[in-house]
């Protein structure tokens, strides 16, 4: 019983220290998040980024694209599910059409024929579904080796991992290899963006937070976000 209490004390201390500076509405846990960002930065620069760079350097573009297409194809299926959950049958149908075209004619998702044909990805996910259902965003979180998220979006990601399909693969080495490949695929997509952040940002933590929250807002409103109420000028 002692250990959970200690953990609670640490979390409580972080929360209290977070209240010392004027708490921000979107990021009340900023001090904790900043600390976690520092941890992430060290781990990422030392281990993950070099692996992702190596992956880009060694694996030919067409192979990387094919892997990326397979992961996207699975995501498109879940995008269709989430389109339905949000009451957007048109978008869901679009995504389902993509999955069928890419699976049947794109060699099981290796080739993204649908994008070439001009069928755009729906990019719906569980986090957006929760937003459409009216769940509050909750505090912003920065998770080491995962990146920026919010309580709502993070819950969405956990749901997505729980429903699979990779989790259903019983062969543990195979399953873990797919998780690893998916992770490096994701990280390699962000390499260019990362170097732009390094040049553009005055404070990388804030820059990433703002970009993430803006991007999510844009996705929740399907590219047509209403003007923000607290706009200056």
């Amino acid at each position: 019983m002692k250990r959970p209490l200690q953990a609670f004390a640490v979390v409580a201390a972080v929360l209290v220290s977070g209240c010392a500076s004027p708490p921000s509405k979107v990021d009340p846990l900023e001090p904790m998040n900043r600390a976690l960002y520092q941890v992430h930065d060290v781990l990422d620069t030392t281990f993950v980024k070099p692996v992702a760079e190596g992956y880009v350097a060694v694996v030919p573009q067409f192979v990387r694209t094919a892997f990326n297409n397979v992961f996207n194809n699975i995501d498109d299926l879940f995008s269709a599910v989430n389109g339905l959950l949000q009451g957007k049958p048109d978008k869901a149908g679009n995504d389902l059409g993509r999955v069928m075209v890419n699976t049947v004619f794109g060699l099981g998702g290796l080739i993204d024929i649908a994008t070439d044909a001009g069928i755009e990805r729906g990019n719906e996910d569980f986090g957006q579904t929760f937003a459409v259902w009216g769940f509050p965003q909750g505090p912003y979180l920065f998770i080491p080796l995962f990146g920026p998220t919010t309580v709502r979006d993070g819950t969405g990601v956990l749901v997505r991992i729980a429903v699979g399909p990779v989790g259903y693969i019983s062969n543990v080495p195979v399953r873990n290899s797919i998780y690893g490949l998916g992770y490096i695929d994701l990280r390699s997509q962000a390499l260019e963006g990362g170097s732009i952040v390094d040049t553009a940002a005055l404070d990388r933590y804030i820059f990433i937070r703002n970009a993430y929250l803006q991007r999510r807002r844009y996705m929740i409103y399907d590219g047509k976000p209403p003007p923000e109420s607290e706009d200056e000028q």
Binding site: S195, A200, L202, N210, E232
Partner: protein, 209 residues
């Protein structure tokens, strides 16, 4: 000087003085989407054909940006929007310095992004606007082979000498909005001069936090 030569000369001067304002007006009336397309295509052609840029010469890339892009941006308005309510607390000299430093930062960022330019093509979406509009959004999609298309929208305002870009929105992330919290934070900690110093330090190559 014979009479004919004199007349010819006068005519030439007359034509030049008469025609110049028309040329300026013609340029001012270029539609915003046409302007974005012309400038983007010009940039792409230059990047692809310039041997120095192909070799990754950053100074040359910056020079091209200065000459071809900068005249089409309204940095004062951009900086004012990024500053929000703090803009009015800055003196005109501070405002000038802020917009100069912000400009340099954006040029640096843009040129480092351009060095990674490969074979992207740009798809220009039809512009929905009425002639009376003074603020418009030009929507484009950057297509990469083997990558997902990226939405890139330009917010433009009508000025005396043509349309000027005051914000770039990439995949829903507004450049100006993204800087607002950063600027606020800097001003809260060190005032307007603190922000100017941070910006100029960044531009001199001091790494960000």
């Amino acid at each position: 000087m014979t009479m004919t030569k004199l007349i010819r000369c006068a005519c030439a001067i007359g034509a030049w003085t008469l025609l110049t304002p028309f040329a300026v007006i013609a340029e001012a009336q270029e539609a915003p989407d046409a302007m974005v397309k012309r400038v983007s295509q010009d940039m792409i052609t230059t990047i692809k054909s310039d041997p120095l840029i192909q070799a990754g010469n950053e100074a040359r890339i910056r020079e091209v940006i200065e000459v071809k892009l900068i005249p089409h941006f309204d940095f004062m308005r951009m900086t004012a929007l990024a500053m929000g309510k703090n803009w009015r607390t800055a003196t005109p000299e501070q405002q000038k310095r802020l917009s100069d430093e912000f400009k340099t930062l954006l040029v640096r960022t843009y040129s480092s992004a351009l060095t990674k330019y490969r074979d992207e093509t740009i798809d220009y979406k039809p512009l929905r606007t009425s002639p009376a509009d003074t603020d418009v959004t030009v929507r484009t999609v950057v297509m990469k082979t083997g990558g997902q298309p990226i939405q890139m929208d330009y917010s433009l305002t009508k000025a005396a000498d043509g349309w000027k870009v005051f914000d770039v929105v990439i995949s829903g992330v507004s450049l100006v909005t993204n800087y607002r919290d950063e600027f606020n934070e800097q001003i809260k900690n060190g005032g307007v001069d603190g922000l100017i110093k941070t910006l100029s330090d960044r531009n001199k190559g001091v790494a960000a936090k």
